[in-house]
Amino acid sequence: MSRERTVEIVPEAGLHARPAALFVETVTDHEADVEAGPPDGDLVPAQSMIAVTSLGVGQGDELRLVADGPDAESVLDELERILTTPEDELEA
């Protein structure tokens, strides 16, 4: 079943470079379809680095996540951790 959550971005770089790479890698490693986008805008596939990066999400922005599949809950937990951890504390 589908789950959803909205998270405020903590890493200074926003959803770019390392946090973005870790974000996409996490989505790929889970059994769930995940989409991401602004709280009131269109969603894009979260397993695409290009799509995720072109959202242009910066520090302090809100990101809406929608997951569907057996790992929906755990993938959202993991993504929330990545999005709310300062970049220098992120463990790959």
């Binding site: 996409v24 596939p45 990066t53 910066g58 922005d61």
Partner: protein
């Protein structure tokens, strides 16, 4: 005169002289109408992706080792771009339609590259990342030999249309004299890499660069942002002299034993490690504005605490001088709602804002600083920017006491850091004795001090020449500040650009400064200059310099 000079943007304030080596990945795409074996092309693409991934992983590890984790992170991003399903799907479709894998890859990346190119700032740099990944795949698909940037002859100056992060990461600063590119800006990856490695570099030189042939002699002048082709003897001599000294790890003293702390100015956390690597004894100016930029609301106390603690942990045996938030003037932060003023440099900036209307931000910052002082390894010093009156200073000291009281009530560990005043206004020069009586140190910010003492904007094409700290008026202001500080048992440093100019190191030693803080790149040069100086003769020269009437006489005195 050089036969030719091209102008671009300097990435590193340093010059290098060498022989041009053009770097050209040299990818030629086969004709589009070539007939293809769909299965074979599909396999070729899959193999190329696999090899590219292995290369990226090994380059990431090598970069983490040689440059730093921060810089290595870009390769993780490249791996994700490489494996993006949007690209894989587009390539697959294209191959099925009968195109060779090279064309398919070129087309699949092309539209996304264009999309990012049309965006601003950070987003536009993603176009570089995608190009980098595309070119890597095309090189593997066309069997092109990779030009080995890691194994260039000593004294090479690399010229390129552009250099990708993986290109720059291979350059060895001990053998490469510098690089210059057609495209790119100060914040491009290549420019940032160049600064971390103190490699002379000029970017954004434009199409004219393509006219310079392999084997030409050039000077990359990162200070002026120029590339000089076929330089004459005098220019060569000047560039050689600027090739830079070796890193000196130890704290240095003059030949006759007077110590001088040589520290770095730091504006972002990722500059801390490279500064330590350049032999900086500590940080003489940590600008905290970076914590407040590129976001929609101010950072919380904990985030600020972590950032300052990181700086203190990078210099466990050194001093870190943190300047409290200094906005206004030309530094804008949208959510702070800075007023539009006729003359912002004479308006609400620095401590003036921190006391009101940003007092809440100021208190949060001070609490973070006091906590970091207790937990960080190095010694924290805090200074207030643009102080003009004793009332402002006393209110700032009171704010520190309030922060201490708050933390005490919360039962949190804290420590009172040493406090100081940044001397930037003429008033601060005249009031230096009163200030020094109330704090532990003064730090002279020569960029603003020169601007205010000379009443000259350095960006002005008409009066920019007046913005020079070697005008006797400014030198006398510095001398007076040092004298008043020492009479009141405060130490005194300098954190403007003047501090990083080895040509005036002897003068500054003679004037009695205790600390010089500069861009990390020039730390080794200034350390060498300190060791070559005799304090006793520097003292005499400084006294002479204080007696002259004009800038040209002053230059003669200190030569």
């Amino acid at each position: 005169m050089a036969s030719r000079t091209l102008t671009g943007t300097g990435a590193t304030p340093r010059s290098g002289l060498g022989t041009v080596v053009w770097y050209d990945p040299g990818i030629t795409l086969p004709d589009a109408d070539e007939s293809v074996d769909v299965d074979a092309e599909r396999d070729r693409f899959a193999d190329a992706v696999e090899t590219a991934r292995a290369e990226l992983e090994s380059e990431r590890d090598a970069t983490a080792e040689r440059v730093g984790e921060e810089e290595a992170a870009i390769f993780d991003a490249h791996i994700q771009f490489l494996e993006d399903p949007t690209i894989a799907d587009a390539v697959e479709t294209s191959i099925e339609e009968g195109r060779p894998a090279t064309r398919a890859v070129d087309d699949a990346f092309g539209s996304h590259i264009e999309q990012f190119e049309g965006m601003e700032g950070r987003m536009a740099e993603r176009a570089d990342d995608l190009r980098d990944v595309r070119d890597r795949l095309l090189r593997l698909l066309t069997g092109g030999e990779r030009v080995n940037l890691a194994d260039l002859p000593e004294g090479s100056v690399v010229l390129a249309e552009r250099l990708t992060p993986s290109d720059t990461a291979q350059l060895d600063p001990d053998t490469v004299a510098g690089f210059a590119t057609v495209t790119g800006g100060r914040t491009s990856h290549a420019a940032i890499f160049a600064r971390s490695l103190a490699l002379p570099a000029v970017v954004g030189l434009g199409e004219g660069l393509n006219d310079i042939a392999d084997g030409a002699e050039v000077i990359v002048d990162g200070d002026a942002g120029e590339l000089l082709v076929d330089p004459d003897d005098a220019e060569r001599e000047a560039a050689r002299a600027d090739e830079g000294a070796a890193v000196v790890e130890e704290v240095v003293e003059t030949a006759d034993g007077r110590g001088m702390e040589v520290a770095a100015n730091v504006g972002r956390p990722e500059e801390l490690e490279p500064a330590a690597g350049r032999g900086a004894d500590g940080v003489g100016l940590y600008r905290t504005e970076f914590l407040f930029l590129d976001r929609q609301s101010p950072p919380e106390e904990d985030e600020q605490y972590e950032a300052v603690k990181d700086a203190l942990d990078t210099f466990p045996d050194g001093r870190v001088v943190v300047r409290t938030l200094d906005v206004g003037g030309d530094k804008q932060i949208p959510y702070l709602d800075l007023p539009e003023e006729e003359n912002p440099f004479l308006g609400e900036r620095g401590i003036r804002r921190s006391l009101d209307p940003d007092s809440e931000l100021f208190h949060t910052q001070l609490r973070a600083l006091l906590r970091a002082a207790a937990d960080g390894a190095g010694e924290l010093n805090v200074m207030f920017p643009l102080v003009a009156t004793v009332e402002e200073l006393e209110a700032s000291i009171e704010a520190v006491e309030d922060a201490a009281a708050d933390l005490n009530d919360r039962g949190v560990d804290y420590e009172r850091p040493s406090l100081g005043v940044m001397v930037e206004t003429p008033s601060a020069v005249f009031m230096a004795d009163e200030f020094a009586e109330r704090v532990d140190f003064l730090s002279i910010g020569t960029n603003d001090l020169t601007q205010y003492v000379m009443a000259a904007d350095r960006e002005s094409e008409h009066v920019g020449h007046l913005h020079d700290p070697t005008h006797p008026g400014v030198v006398r202001a510095i001398a007076r500040t040092v004298e008043q500080a020492h009479e009141n048992d405060a130490w005194v440093g300098m954190c403007g650009e003047m501090a990083g100019n080895p040509d005036v190191t002897e003068l500054l030693i003679g004037l009695g400064l205790d600390e010089l803080s500069m861009s990390a790149v020039t730390v080794p040069d200034v350390k060498v200059a300190v060791e070559a100086t005799e304090y006793s003769s520097a003292r005499e020269r400084a006294e002479d310099a204080l007696r002259v009437a004009t800038r040209s006489e002053l230059h003669e005195t200190i030569q």
